[in-house]
Amino acid sequence: MKDLLWLVPLFPLVGFLVNGIVYLVSHRTRGVVVAHPMADQPAAESSLESGHPHAHEHLEAHPRFKTLHTAVGVGSVALSCVFAFGAIFDVGVRALASGAHHVITLYRWISLGVNESTGQVPGALAEWFVDAAFRLDSLSALMIAFVTFVGFLIHVYSVGYMGHDPGYGRYFAYLNLFMFSMLVLVLADNFLLMFVGWEGVGLCSYLLIGYDYHKKFAADAGKKAFVVNRIGDFGFILGIFGVFVLFGTLEFDGVFSAAAADPSRYAPWMTLVCLCLFLGAVGKSAQVPLHVWLPDAMAGPTPVSALIHAATMVTAGVYMVARCNVLFRLSPDALLVVAVVGGFTALFAATIGVVQNDIKKVLAYSTVSQLGYMFLACGVGAFAAGMFHVLTHAFFKACLFLGSGSVIHALAGEQDLRRMGGLARRIPITYVTFLVATLAIAGVPLLAGFFSKDAILAAVFEARFPQAPWLPRLLWSAALFTAGLTAFYMFRLVSLAFYGRFRGTPEQEAHVHESPKSMTVPLVILAFLSIVGGWIGIPILHGGNRIGAFLSPVIPALAGEHAAEHHPAVSLEIALMAASVGAAMVGLLLAWLWYAKGEGRVPATIAARFPRLYRLVANKYFVDEFYDSVFVEGLAKGGGRFLWEVDATVVDLIPNGTAAATRGASWLTNLFDKNVVDGAVNGVADGFEKGWRLARRAQTGHVQNYALVMGAGLFCLVAVYLIFR
């Protein structure tokens, strides 16, 4: 079954084609109007009900071929999931953990001829080429397992959530295309194929954020995501170029074994290459300073936020850094940058999340913050811990997003936390699953988030940065504070949504209902996984954990590196755990006291006491405004002016110079024309005039003159005849 690995991405691709074609054909006869009947309504109708199916409920248009779209859309991902697990178990979990990997080459994609540097570069292949090849090792196995499984659950959820949407077929086509791209990304055996998947998920992200493209804010958010991601992708492809130049191959095995075999050879260039690669990760995983697109991406339908902008796609950056861990470990400076960016993003986004009032925005900033955690882990060299957090985060964040979708569904599109409250008894399944996921992300012991977060915190505490010895403690403090903040804002969310009294309109209150089975069953499964998902990483004190052991083959030792098995003392580990649990508990308790019991009076007082600070945080530190004024206004307009100057002075030299040269040439030509050509013409005319003035004299009108000339002529002729006879 491992040789059928190529079927894993193929099923969603086929699903995309079938859904897309059926949708296009079935909607062609009645045109775009049917598919998007809201196009004529003002976009500002409600920015809060973005992507919610109830916004479309009053429409006559119903999705067509719904059964077919459901069967193909969900079925393809289900098959993909089955084959993914089949391939993993075929190779064997234990075998994967001990370094077994399976590569299937589909075909030679790009062939570039003979590699002349063979022999000089260890591990370089005799030929320059790129294969379309998939690779199953422990890292990609971990990724495809949760991507296909969480993806499958979210597809099922979408059946209920998008059931009333006229663009049902389009939605599933995009979602399937996303699954295909994501699986290509994680299964790729070389950087270039990975880049193809990378761009593919970016495209799908754009398509799905702007799914309600007749609403301006959704279309704008899609564009923003696409443009911001371009900056990262630019870095990523520069990094790929760098890798190819240095190693002469793009295959993971070739690159990493060469780098691990001879670290000192490549180390000087690695900082540059790694920072380029990391720029790609920053864009895709929404780290500061490229984090601005992710909160706006919430304009997409909620299942999309769950799948793409929380569970899978945004973790691609972490996956890529973990995949390239050998390269990053060659460059302590690059690792330092990764750690600082990750740590800063974690804290930065968490503070914003505290004051957001849109349920999805809170979760979006939470996602940015948790991604920061993952990069922080990678930055301190704990790649396994980072990937572990990717996994657990996928479970509880998908559960949270789907739960928020269920809340929004119950309230007919309401996303504002200030108009919720008291939903705990009304939608109990949603409430319980949401609570479980919240406790998991907050780091309550024995739930998934606790183990992964604790692994990261311990790794940060133990990290060593020769360049900056004080940094690990600073990062650890920030991460610990972030853990408290995470617990605080997540429980604030729960309190505002589920406790207290209902603050919305009576119509909304009457509408509240539990979601259908297709939505609650995935929620329950994800909540269950949020509990048990972390158990694979239960730290065995003094000996790492199972997830670390499983991922160890993709994190090989570098040549000359002492495998310094440094384990903190048991007491220290327990103290660190206690600290993180304590921070989480303080956060939870404060949120419960302030929002569930106190109905938000204390935070309101604090906000009133520090109005400037509150405005700063509530406006997301004005980063968007800063980018608007500096890059959009400043660069676009100032740059426009600069380019205009360049255009007017430098570029215009060419047309102006040409014009001047032409003018000079035409002046010369004119002179020539006037004097030489006209002179010739007029000269000939004048000559003829003078000629005729002479010749007319001969024509006297006196017949006798003519006769005389005739006679003279005759005489001359005869004379000539006689003389020269």
């Binding site: 010749a695 004299r697 001969a698 024509q699 006297t700 009108g701 006196h702 017949v703 006798q704 005389l708």
Partner: protein, 101 residues
């Protein structure tokens, strides 16, 4: 002294020269016409002389033709003379120069 062909040719040359001079220098249109007749007769004399000398009748036949043409020419010339006189009240050839270039 026998009369040879040379005598005829000399007479003929003199007649032709007098006629030509008359055409070129006389002002009166009528005189010019008469001078033309004189030239034609000089030619006739020449033709007859050679006809007799060469015992060939062709020359005499040509002479008859020339006389016939000369009659026509005289008729047309006199008609032109009358027409010219009617228009200009003069027969001076030098005044009939309206075709001047």
């Amino acid at each position: 002294m026998t009369i040879t062909i040379n005598h005829f040719l000399v007479v003929s040359f003199l007649l032709f020269s007098i006629g030509l001079l008359g055409v070129l220098v006389r002002r009166n249109f009528l005189t010019v016409l008469m001078s033309v007749e004189l030239m034609l007769n000089a030619v006739n004399l020449n033709l007859i002389a050679f006809s007799s000398r060469l015992s060939d009748l062709t020359g005499q036949v040509f002479a008859v033709f020339v006389i016939t043409i000369a009659a026509g020419e005289a008729a047309i010339g006199l008609a032109l003379t009358i027409s010219l006189f009617r228009q200009r009240r003069t027969l001076n050839v030098e005044e009939a120069s309206s075709m001047q270039g």
